[in-house]
């Protein structure tokens, strides 16, 4: 699997371009923003400031959009990494060791799956005064873990019974090395597909938590929080809400296209 052959898939190409574009906007935005993150450039909800007008306290919407991607991007990426790491570890172990460990892990998994992801977030948010950014990473990551574990277990199970794993076991290789060396490469494509999907949901969840008004850094520019701050003026000055919303939509369409393209390859590889 190399990059060039991946990019020949139009889904992955378009998704990749969208994703790179939005990530570039989030990373380099603050350097090219015409105004400061907290700078008041005019009256609230008017077309003063640069081309997208002003927000609920008269800050420049376009500049806030350019500043507001970093937090969403960093939190969503870290949460995805955490969720995939825990999920894969548990899922592969359950599939490989089997028996009671498998039973316990999958039963607990079923319990966690009974909570919609946003409900897990809300339960934790209800007992803290002010969420911190790493708290959001933990909540979103942990809410992904059971879903990833189920998928990783399923993929690992199809390989555990194959001859090359049995052969490795027969010549006395230690279990952790079999997991790493024999199962690892076969899990790469399905895992990347799953990670792409999880990143899509992470972005939605992180932005959604901001939309519900649970701010890790109240007042700071953040695509999710911007939708909450300016939503009352959707009918008067829509850009304060629409600009971040359109960017989140494009971002999730991009990551989902990549995930779907990779998922198709994983399915072909397994067949």
């Amino acid at each position: 699997m190399n990059l060039r052959s991946l990019l020949r898939d139009p889904k992955i190409l378009i998704g990749g371009l969208l994703t790179v574009l939005i990530i570039a906007l989030a990373v380099f935005g603050p350097f090219v923003a015409p105004h400061g993150e907290y700078e008041i450039v005019g009256r609230p909800y008017t077309n003063e400031g640069s081309f997208l007008g002003t927000d609920y306290i008269g800050q420049d919407v376009w500049s806030r959009v350019l500043y507001g991607g970093r937090s969403v991007l960093v939190i969503a990426l870290l949460a995805t990494l955490l969720g995939v790491a825990i999920g894969v570890l548990l899922g592969v172990l359950a599939a490989y060791v089997g028996g009671w460990l498998d039973e316990i892990v999958m039963r607990l998994n079923d319990v966690l799956l009974a909570f919609p992801q946003i409900l897990i977030a809300l339960l934790v948010l209800s007992s803290v005064d002010q969420p911190t950014w790493w708290m959001i990473v933990l909540i979103v990551g942990i809410s992904h873990a059971p879903r990833v574990a189920r998928m990783a277990r399923g993929v690992a199970l199809t390989y555990v019974t194959r001859d090359f794993v049995t052969a490795a076991e027969a010549i006395g290789e230690p279990r952790w090395r079999i997991l790493l060396a024999e199962l690892g490469p076969n899990l790469v494509v399905p895992l990347l597909a799953e990670a792409g999907l999880r990143l899509t949901y992470s972005i939605g969840m992180v932005a959604g938590i901001g939309f519900l008004g649970f701010a890790t850094d109240p007042g700071a520019a953040d695509w999710g929080q911007m939708t909450n701050e300016n939503r009352l003026a959707l009918l008067v000055q829509p850009w304060g809400v629409l600009a971040p919303v359109i960017i989140i939509a494009l971002f999730t369409i991009g990551t989902n296209l990549i995930a779907d393209g990779l998922g198709e390859r994983a399915a072909k590889g397994a067949a």
Partner: protein, 352 residues
Amino acid sequence: MTEPSNLATSAVGEARRHPDAVEARTRRSPGKAWGLWVARRLGLAVLTLWLVSVIVFWATSALGDPVRAILGKDFAVSPARVQLIRDALHLDKPLVERYFIWLGDLLSGNLGTSVTSNLPVAELIGDRVVNSAFLVLVVALVMIPLTLVLALLSARRPGGVLDNVIQGITLALAGVPEFVTGILLVALFSTSVFHLLPAVAVLPPGSAPWDRPASLILPMATLVISVTPYLVRILRSNLLESLGSDYVELARLKGIPERRVLLRHALPNTLVPAIQVTALQLAWLVGGVVLIEYLFNYPGIGATLVDAVRNSDFPVVQALAMIIAGVYVLVNLVADILSILLTPRARTGMAA
């Protein structure tokens, strides 16, 4: 944005993962085996619900000081109120004891008293539960036929123009968060572009959402758009798999019209996985309504939950969390039993 599991191992695979069914094959009486399977499945659901209650209680009680969260800035200045809330929530007792008091109340139907409004939780959320159930029901009534039609149109000529359009649109929509879809719909249909539909579902006190159907359209449409794409994609790929099988080949060779092959031969065989995925999506809807109700100010459990979370109104949060998770467990239970009933192989496998 919906909550699918990966295709390879998905909910569809889950439907086939019935170790109990295989195990039961050795038993003799079919009725007995079937009863045993249902009993085991019920037991599992009860166990799951119990563990859910532990998590709900722990997450809302042990992570921080509840009184501090409830009172916020008032915590330092009014020791009398602190003690009042400590008594109401039994906070002077150890955590485990508090859990069992709460569980006992829950089981006897006592949901507790709201900390912020001092009203019984049951009274506070009763109407809200009905409103949300109504919204989910309307969404399901639109979503299921729509999914069937789109998937059949798509699978009729795979790779055709219509299939490509449906595939493209559903793929693009499948990942977009539901509140983003909702805001875009509001911007399109109730602001500058078309001023057609109400942007918020403001209801006068005492009136029910079904009295004002116009205010239901946007929340309903948002949820349908968020849930349907994934269902269409799953059903289409199941249909295509079914269309590639031997019995469909045979039906075609016998000269049965393609339309009949699709509707009578391929479609029924996708029913079981479809039930499983639909159940998952319905359960997802119960969580998905949270953001959408907040967006549209719809008076349901979602908007209530967000308010309760913001005010750290634990009794309300706990009750609503138990209801949402309970619905999930129940929907899954029903879907599993339906799947077994509808799969002759699994059903007779128990009897053989």
